[in-house]
Structure formats: C-alpha cells, structure tokens
C-alpha cells in the first residue's frame, strides 16, 4: 500500500490555506527533505491521505489528480483516493435512463383541458329540420363533427405523473453517472473554490486552457460559496454551482464536466457508502396529507 505523508508539516509553507481540512496521519514524513522554499514549483505531487470507509473486497482505491483554481497554471497538488464502489461500478445504462425519465416526469403537470359536452353552451335544438332542406341531418350545433364542437376523448384537466423511484435505483444511477464521468476524464477534483479575482474572464480562460468543456458543474459541500466564485459563475453561461444535496443524474449528464471539492467528495462518499452498505428496509415515503 502507498505510504502516507504528513501534509500539515509540508503545506504550512504553502500559501494555500484550504487544505487544512484534510485528514492527516501522524507518521513521520519520509520525504521531508524535498519540502524547501517555493514549494509549489519544486515539490513533487503529493498523496493525500483519505481513509475510505467500507473498503472494497476486490478492488483497490482509484486515484485522481488534485488540482487548484487559485492559479491559472495547471499544477497538480496531489493524488486523491476514490472508493471503487462508487467510482468503479459496472455502468447500468438502463438505470441511468430510468433516473432521467423519472426526474423529467415526476414533476410534470399536463394542464391540457378539452371541455366535455355538458360544458358547451346549448346542446338542445336542431340547427335545421330533419327533412326538407337539402343539407345533412344534425341534432345539435356542437357535435364533434362540427367546427367548434366538443372533443370526445380529449385531455381532461390537470393530470399528474408523480411517482418516486426506489432508493436503490437512484443510488445506482448516481454511482453509474459518476463512474461514467470519471472514466471519460470529465471529473476534476479541486481543493476549494477560492479564486483570486471576481472577474469572470479569469475562470473562463482557466477552463479553456485546461480543456474543461463549455459547461461545468461546480459542487461544494455547503450552500454558502465564496463571492468570487458566485460572481464568476453567474456571469458565464454554462457554469452552475450547487451544494452536495443538489447533485442529480440529470445535471451530471447535462454538463460536460464535473468539478468537486474535497469536502464535497467526502460528504458524497460518506452518504452513498452508508446507503450502499446499510440493510435498512426501504422506508415507504409517507403519503401526502389526505385532509384538505
């Protein structure tokens, strides 16, 4: 297994303040001689110590680069361990499809309404006598064969298509979407969303240089984001910022790249692994209140 380094000692010399939230080990650093002044340019890529819960029986943890948004130059800060149950599942495309269809339809309300025959003005009275006139025989002016007449089996009223997909399918959909994105090189891990300027051109040029795609989904662990990040993403088309609880399969597939912070990654893994490895029976969602 890969030996872990103590980050605190080495990164104290760095100007990056947001990596203090990582979990660190207490072992002595074997590569402490490399930590000289100007560490960003000289130090080797580090290995971030992330302890994974419920380690997988067969597969070792995956590894991905840890990057920054604090500077334009693409320098990797370290390597991140990823849990294979989430990031290396066999992709179930049918469950992905079910997730997307569910997200599209369960909030849909069809407001189309064609009034039935009893809601039309006057149904009594023949327009002209049965015989005598050379015209066709009719009983009322608003029959369906007339122009402006009622429709027989048309849509009636607001209809809802509400249903809830089972929890296991939603979890599997999330894991599939994340594996697919990772193995297509569309996921990037970042220490935090602290930008040096509020100018949106900074972030746009940064993402263009790194080929991060026209649309990016930034995910942080809390609702509250730094001001620079919010300003830059609000002014550019295609950049959306979300907290962890807003993550969903539709948005993952709509945006070309995903950018996660380490704190968000910790939270996601914790929640998903707890859901994957727990034997709780599915708590049937209590129905909405029947009382008017």
């Amino acid at each position: 297994m890969i030996k872990s380094l103590s980050l605190v000692k080495i990164l104290r010399q760095c100007s990056i303040r947001s990596i203090r939230h990582f979990e660190t080990s207490t072992q002595p650093p074997p590569f402490s001689s490399d930590s000289t002044s100007n560490p960003i340019s000289q130090q080797l890529p580090l290995i971030v110590n992330r302890q994974l819960e419920y380690p997988h029986v067969r597969y070792p943890p995956l590894q991905a680069w840890l990057e920054t948004l604090g500077q334009k130059r693409d320098e990797k800060l370290g390597i991140v361990d990823l849990h294979p149950s989430i990031w290396q599942t066999s992709p179930r495309l049918d469950i992905l499809y079910e997730n997307i269809e569910w997200q599209k339809t369960y909030k849909k309300i069809d407001w189309a309404y064609t009034p039935p025959h009893h809601e039309y003005p006057s149904m009594r009275g023949k327009p002209w006598p049965q015989k005598g006139t050379g015209r066709a025989r009719h009983s009322s002016r608003y029959d369906p064969q007339w122009k402006g007449g009622y429709k027989v089996n048309g849509p009636k009223g607001p209809t809802s298509f509400f249903y809830v997909l089972p929890k296991e399918k939603r979890i599997e959909g999330l894991c599939t979407a994340l594996t697919v994105k990772l193995h297509q090189n569309d996921v990037h891990f970042v220490d935090s969303f602290d930008l040096p300027t509020h100018q949106p051109t900074y972030l746009q040029e940064l993402t263009e240089d790194r080929f991060w795609g026209p649309s990016i989904l930034f995910i942080d662990d809390t609702d509250i984001m730094p001001h620079n990040m919010m300003f830059a993403s609000a002014k550019t088309e295609g950049f959306t910022v979300m907290p962890v609880y807003g993550l969903n399969v539709y948005s993952i597939l709509k945006h070309t790249t995903l950018v996660l912070t380490i704190r968000a990654l910790n939270k996601i893994e914790k929640k998903l692994l707890h859901a994957l490895n727990s034997y709780d029976t599915q708590k049937d969602q209590p129905a909405p209140p029947d009382e008017p």
Binding site: I109, H118, P158, S160, F162, G246, L247, N248, S251, P292
Partner: protein, 175 residues
C-alpha cells in the same frame, strides 16, 4: 401550322406535347384573336378588411434557452433524500401542481374524486358552475366504467373484501 404550347410547363416525365394551331400576324404568333375576357386580369387584390379573415402567421419562435437558471438547475434537489436531509419528501418538491395533486397519481376519475374531496365545499358555495361540471363528469365516468362497457364474465376474477381471507385456490368456473 402547329407549334409547341406557350402554356406554363410542369415538371413531368411524360412525353406529351401539346400543340396549338395559331397564325402569324405582324411577326408575332397570336392566340384567340378577338377574344375579350370579362374576368379580372389584374394582379393580387388587397385583403378584404370588412371580412374577418386575418392572415395565418407561423407560430412565434420560442428560443429554448438551455442555460437559464431554471434549465441549468433542473432536477436539483431530487436526490436530497439520499445526499442530504432524509426527512424531505418528494411531493414537497413539486411546486407547479394544484394543491390536490401534490404527490398523487391516478386515472381521471381518481383525480376528480380527489379534487372533490379537497375543493368540493369551496366550489359548492363560491363556484357553483364548476362544482356542477365536476360532479356531472364524475357521475358520467362512474356510469360508463361500471355499466357501459361489457365485461366478459369468464375473465373477471373473484374479488375479496378487505377483511375476508383469501381463498385457497382459484376456480375459473366461478363467475
């Protein structure tokens, strides 16, 4: 003498050639000499303003706008049950539904009965026409479903009430 027609030619694969007999007068071929047409031979007429015949326009182009805030954050909180607060229920996330259809799905009759349950009293007093429409539609559907369409008795399964025990076997001869 026969010449080929000066009529407007249509694009066709037939080898039909239309020939018209004419005569030459002052260097030009003339057709129907002396004929004075009585129908209008000018150009297009203006649209009659006294008639209710407005022009039929194409529908206005609605730009899809894939990256408005609403479209970019579509489906944002659908997995909040797993990734966030466990107590949030999905019927609370449906915002554009009428209040009697939040978290409900069914056929038309079930929709109407639910609406009656939630809004019947209010409609009876404040919107009597709508109330009348609602109950007539319910009555029509109940009649149609229960009496109108012939049900094949050899395909109907025996129904059991909520408190009765289930039978041990299913006799297909039972009506």
């Amino acid at each position: 003498m026969f010449i080929q027609s000066c009529l407007p030619k249509t694009i066709s694969n037939s080898h039909l050639i239309i020939s018209v007999r004419t005569f030459k007068r002052f260097g030009e071929y003339v057709k129907s000499y002396g004929y004075q047409p009585k129908h209008y031979q000018g150009g297009y007429l203006p649209r009659a303003s006294h008639l209710k015949d407005p022009p039929d326009y194409l529908p206005p182009f609605i730009d899809p706008k894939d990256w408005t805030l609403e479209a970019a954050t579509f489906g944002q909180n659908d997995y909040i049950d797993i990734l966030g607060d466990e107590n949030v229920e999905h019927w609370q996330l449906v915002r554009n539904a009428p209040f009697w259809l939040r978290g409900f799905q069914g056929n038309e009759l079930q929709h109407l009965l639910r609406r009656l349950k939630f809004q019947g009293k209010y409609l009876e007093e404040n919107q009597p026409q709508r109330y009348s429409d609602l109950i007539t539609r319910i009555r029509f559907l109940m009649f149609k479903i229960n009496f109108k369409h012939y049900k094949r008795p050899w395909l109907m399964r025996p129904t059991v009430g909520p408190n009765e025990p289930l039978p041990d076997y299913y006799d297909p001869r039972s009506s």
